[in-house]
């Protein structure tokens, strides 16, 4: 979930209202936003809706706060303005590289410190979050006062082209920027394998930026006091590029700017043609059956309420008849996938408090999972045997599951991207966990009788997922006189009460002392192991009292009972 930094005073100015903190928190609920940190003049606000990048800025949050409060939104008429004369021309060689660009210009905006900070914040959140680390979308904003249109979006020779990147004093070739500039190194992977690098420059050849990596130092860097801006976005997904530009345009319009459209001229086909006027309103009319709406909200709602709700959420061209409602979302939104999305907007605008909760009235029968019932019976019996239950993480380490139990041949499910070595494998047995408890519990008065019933995961090639989740019981006793027969008497008790008739065959399992271990078998199939733990294993864990233990797969033990 994106978290943005907002200047409180700036937010309140944009929203046209001052709030104390509880008021603000309450108002932000309709935006699905939460104040996470309050730091004097600054607020850290988390946006829960990952599908609404238009809200990831103070302009976006303020826009919805204000619209929701006043029941009406800015029309953002510039989306419908006729095409202007400003152009971006695209180099044919970009088609296979980073094919899409969109842009607009903005005049009359007063860039103060707050505005500058927030524009940069919005640009970064869009590119990093929505643009997935600048790969799908990257955004540049420039002072346009010296810019010579048409702007060019070219595929440049990385070794023959050079400019002074932001934050440096000398010019570098495009390729050298990727290795020598810190930002260049961060984003170099996005240009990997490119024969030519994307480059934005004006008609005089002044380089503005090398998207999606870095801007040029000199021409175009935005400063406080600027009032004529140029904003572009480049990327690999056309609609994402267009939406980002639409959002940036709405944000600048909210700060008093007049948006000047820019035409993008492609020498190749795009899903939206070869000439695209930006910012572009891509929204489509959403049509919702009123019966569906009532079914979702669970009752009647009058047309006036629907109309008011949609207006408060920024919908346009709202048309209602007896059977359906039609509306277009705000031009900076791209999250209405299904009529339910519009229905939720209605519910949020009306307010959750205005819906009377009602208990589901269908009768259903509660039923526990059979394996959980069996687990519970076994847990009860083990407690009756005087054993303390333990409850351990399922994630473990290869060392615990193999080397420390002298079972280096064990096949286990491992994690390819572990966060730490300690939690890098899924346990294939419960016994290593019990030994870990033993190792950590030398100070606990003896004797120790402990058990766990829980899930393990084993490799099983012929299963659909190549693995199988099983439920096991492991029990262990540790004290000076712990023996095979001592622990087996508890297995006897379980077998008696659960009604399964096991037998033991000698086992050479490496975790146990030779000659004092047995495979637990049922109808000729092994389903567990019992014995005295090998002193070498005890030494590996630093355990200094004798330990005997057993472990069984209860799925199998339980089927007989």
């Amino acid at each position: 979930m994106p978290t943005i930094t907002v200047i409180r005073e700036d937010l309140e100015r944009l929203a046209g209202q001052t709030y104390d903190l509880p008021e603000l928190e309450r108002a932000l609920e309709a935006v699905k936003a939460e104040v996470k940190v309050e730091d004097g003049a600054l607020l850290r606000i988390q946006l829960k809706d990952t599908n609404r990048p238009d809200l990831w800025s103070s302009e976006g949050v303020a826009r919805l706060l204000k619209g929701h409060r006043e029941g009406v939104h800015e029309p953002y008429g510039f989306f419908d303005d006729p095409p202007g004369e400003l152009e971006v021309r695209v180099d044919p060689a970009l088609e296979g590289l980073r094919p899409y660009v969109a842009a607009f210009a903005c005049e009359g905006v007063s860039v103060d410190e707050a505005a500058l900070e927030q524009l940069i914040e919005a640009q970064e959140k869009l590119a990093e979050g929505y643009g997935r680390g600048r790969s799908a979308v990257a955004i540049g904003i420039y002072d346009a006062s010296d810019l010579a249109f048409p702007v060019r979006y070219d595929a440049a020779d990385p070794d023959a082209t050079r400019f002074v990147p932001l934050g440096m004093e000398t010019g570098l070739t495009l390729r050298d920027i990727l290795s020598e500039h810190p930002t260049g190194r961060t984003y170099a992977h996005l240009l990997e394998g490119f024969g030519a690098f994307p480059l934005i420059s004006d008609s005089r050849g002044e380089v503005l930026s090398m998207p999606p990596v870095i801007n040029s130092r000199d021409p175009g860097a935005v400063e406080v006091g600027d009032s004529f801006l140029f904003c572009e976005a480049t990327g690999t997904e056309l609609d994402a590029v267009l939406l980002s530009v639409a959002i940036m345009a709405a944000n600048m319009a909210d700060r008093g700017g007049r948006i000047l459209p820019v035409n993008t001229i492609y020498p190749y086909d795009t899903p939206r043609g070869r000439e695209i006027r930006c910012p572009l309103d891509m929204t489509e009319t959403v049509e919702v059956d009123l019966d569906d709406l009532r079914r979702v909200i669970g009752g009647a709602i009058d047309n006036g309420s629907i109309e008011r709700a949609l207006a408060a959420m920024g919908y346009r061209d709202v048309a209602l008849d007896r059977n359906r409602v039609r509306a277009r979302p705000a031009p900076y939104r791209d999250d209405i996938l299904h009529p339910v999305d519009l229905i939720e907007d209605v519910i949020v605008a009306v307010g959750f408090d205005n819906f009377e909760p009602e208990l589901p009235h269908d009768f259903t029968v509660g039923k526990s999972a059979p394996e959980e019932d069996l687990s519970d019976r076994i847990r009860g019996l083990m407690v009756g045997c005087g054993f303390q239950e333990v409850f351990l993480p399922i994630l473990s380490s290869r060392a615990d599951l193999t080397e420390r139990v002298c079972d280096t041949g064990a096949r286990i499910v491992e994690i390819s991207n572990p966060m730490s070595e300690n939690y890098s494998a899924v346990r294939n047995a419960l016994l290593p966990g019990l030994l870990r408890v033993e190792a950590a519990s030398r100070k606990a008065p003896y004797p120790h009788h402990i058990f766990e019933v829980g899930e393990v995961c084993v490799i099983a090639r012929d299963e659909l997922y190549g693995t199988r989740t099983e439920i096991c019981l492991a029990a262990l006793e540790a004290h000076a006189d712990a023996t095979l027969s001592g622990i087996q008497s508890h297995l006897e008790a379980l077998a008696y009460y659960l009604g399964f008739d096991y037998s033991l065959t000698p086992s050479e399992h490496p975790t146990f002392l030779p000659g004092r271990a047995g495979e637990i078998r049922l109808d000729g199939n092994g389903f567990g192991i019992i014995g005295e733990i090998h002193p070498e294993v005890l030494e590996n864990w630093g355990i200094s009292v004798p330990v005997s233990a057993f472990e069984v797969n209860i799925d199998i033990a339980g089927t007989q009972s």
Binding site: H338, E344, T364, G386, I415
Partner: protein, 528 residues
């Protein structure tokens, strides 16, 4: 010390020892006489004295070094004969004709050496004199000491007290005392008939509290002979009728025994499970190793979703993928993602990768189980829940465990809508968080629309985010073959458990410290 000490707290040995002081003058007795006075062994007396001193019922009135006299082996033999060689010699010397040493040695009660040393000794001290060969008495008074006073005064005392007794040196007459000291210091040890030992003798005296206690013991008739245990023999013989039983001090607590017991956190989850079962929910189970398909794709989370990158879930190293796509669900879900398929949605508008969907991961959210249940032909109407172990790519710290539990579920039926969603959440707040006050706040989940955050006012925590819920998107339900509305809900259970168990580090829910687990008290039941 409390003067009104509880009599039932006194041990039988203490009672007997206290009662012994009844006979002592001024309630004083020496440790030498106490065993006899109390009628118990000297070791038992020693223990009882120690306990009584620590209770302030008696103290030490004085200490003195006492010499005690006891018989050696040869002394016991002399006592048996009833005479000493000196006495025998003197008695013979009193008669005429006066004996010679030869005559004496013919008497075999003593050997030649014993006769010899008696003769030598008596002669040297001037009790006898030599008259030619004959032996005559020179000092009749001294002779009378040997013949009349020594045997009864020394050996006679041991006959009364027993051969093994140790008698106080001071209790003998002065002449016997000097005889004893002379004999024990001059003679070789082996030959000496008597032995003198020195020991410290303590005199004990009851304190005022002790005297009060003694009086109360006497009043209540306690003797210390009360029986401590009822035995099977007493019951069989009926002897129990004739004995009185020692009263216990019931204020003394025995040590707590180590018992077999369910784990407190798991028992808490058991309580949540029971509550959901009682509300008519059916339990769901599923594999720990999931496909991205069931964990995310089937939940309408697009493959480019931010929560699907490598840093949010744990990927299985080997095998990498499931063996086959699960149809028709793969195709249905792929269509819903691409253009909505037949769900009425425009879809996410991207190309769905079936290979990615088959990638194996560790289950990262319990909602995976809800998706599986929808695909398996659930009951309509139906209510389902799971207490599911889940795994997220997170640093393990006080608020993040290596793996954690999610309590999740679904409710499906024709009549399910936004208001029944709110009703269900209100029920959960009441039944599971014990909160009669709750709030609903707009929320976002990729798989539900509308989505609700449930806030409950918890009795000790105040307002908490207790759960998230919503109506599953049609893009999720229809590809899995479900045509009715479905509520999906999840509850934040670990925080509630930590409060109930008084734990502030989430890792302690899965502690490996047996002492800690054993000492964890029973929590308040989760859901009653």
């Amino acid at each position: 010390m409390d003067p009104t000490i509880d009599l039932s707290s006194l041990h039988a040995l203490e009672i007997k020892t206290l009662r012994a002081f009844e006979s002592g003058e001024e309630h004083e007795l020496t440790d030498a006489v106490l065993p006899e006075a109390a009628g118990i062994g000297s070791g038992q007396v020693r223990r009882a004295l120690e306990w009584l001193r620590s209770k302030g019922l008696l103290d030490v009135a004085g200490e003195a070094t006492v010499s005690t006299v006891s018989l050696t082996e040869s002394g016991v033999a002399l006592a048996g004969i009833g005479a000493t060689p000196e006495a025998a010699l003197l008695l013979r010397a009193n008669k005429e004709p006066a004996p010679t040493l030869k005559h004496l040695q013919a008497d075999t009660r003593f050997d030649r050496g014993e006769w010899g040393s008696a003769y030598g000794g008596l002669k040297a001290e001037g009790t006898i004199r030599q008259d030619g060969a004959a032996i005559r008495i020179a000092d009749p008074d001294r002779a009378a000491f040997y013949t009349e006073r020594l045997v009864p005064g020394l050996f006679g005392r041991f006959r009364e007290a027993g051969d093994g007794a140790a008698l106080n040196l001071d209790d003998f007459t002065e002449e016997i005392q000097s005889y004893i000291l002379e004999r024990t210091s001059k003679r070789g040890k082996g030959k000496a008939a008597i032995r003198v030992d020195e020991r410290l003798e303590r005199t004990y005296r009851l304190t005022p509290a002790g005297r009060g206690t003694l009086e109360r013991i006497l009043e209540s008739g306690l003797t210390g002979d009360e029986v401590s245990r009822l035995t099977p023999e007493m019951l069989q013989s009926g002897d129990w009728r004739d004995v009185s039983f020692r009263r216990y001090d019931i204020s003394i607590k025995p040590p707590r025994i180590l018992i077999g017991r369910l784990h407190p956190y798991r028992a808490y989850l058991d309580g949540v499970r029971r509550k959901l079962l009682s509300l008519g929910f059916e339990e769901m189970k599923g594999p720990l190793v999931e496909t991205e398909f069931w964990n995310m794709d089937a939940l309408f989370m697009p493959q480019f979703h931010a929560a699907r990158n490598i840093h949010d879930a744990y990927y299985v190293k080997e095998p990498i993928r499931s063996n086959a796509p699960e149809e028709p669900f793969f195709s249905n879900v792929a269509a819903a993602h691409a253009d909505g398929g037949d769900t009425g949605s425009r879809g996410w508008r991207y190309e769905f990768s079936p290979a990615r969907a088959r990638r194996l991961i560790l289950r990262s959210q319990g909602t995976a189980l809800s998706g599986r249940t929808l695909a398996s032909g659930p009951n309509v109407p139906g209510k389902y829940f799971a207490v599911a172990r889940c795994f997220r790519y997170d640093d393990v710290d006080a608020t993040h465990a290596a793996d954690f539990f999610q309590v999740e579920g679904i409710v499906l039926g024709e009549g399910i809508n936004f208001r029944s969603l709110l009703g269900l959440l209100k029920l959960f707040a009441l039944e599971i968080a014990q909160s009669d006050e709750c709030r609903f706040v707009p929320d976002y989940f990729p798989f539900t629309e509308p989505s609700v955050e449930l806030q409950a006012r918890h009795p000790s925590l105040g307002w908490i985010e207790f759960g998230g819920a919503g109506l599953f998107r049609p893009e999720l339900t229809r590809p899995l073959g479900v045509e009715v509305p479905v509520i999906a809900w999840g509850l934040g259970i670990d925080r509630m458990a930590m409060v109930a168990l008084d734990i502030d580090d989430i890792r302690d829910l899965f502690s490996t410290d047996l002492d800690r687990i054993r000492n964890e008290r029973e929590n308040r039941p989760a859901a009653t």
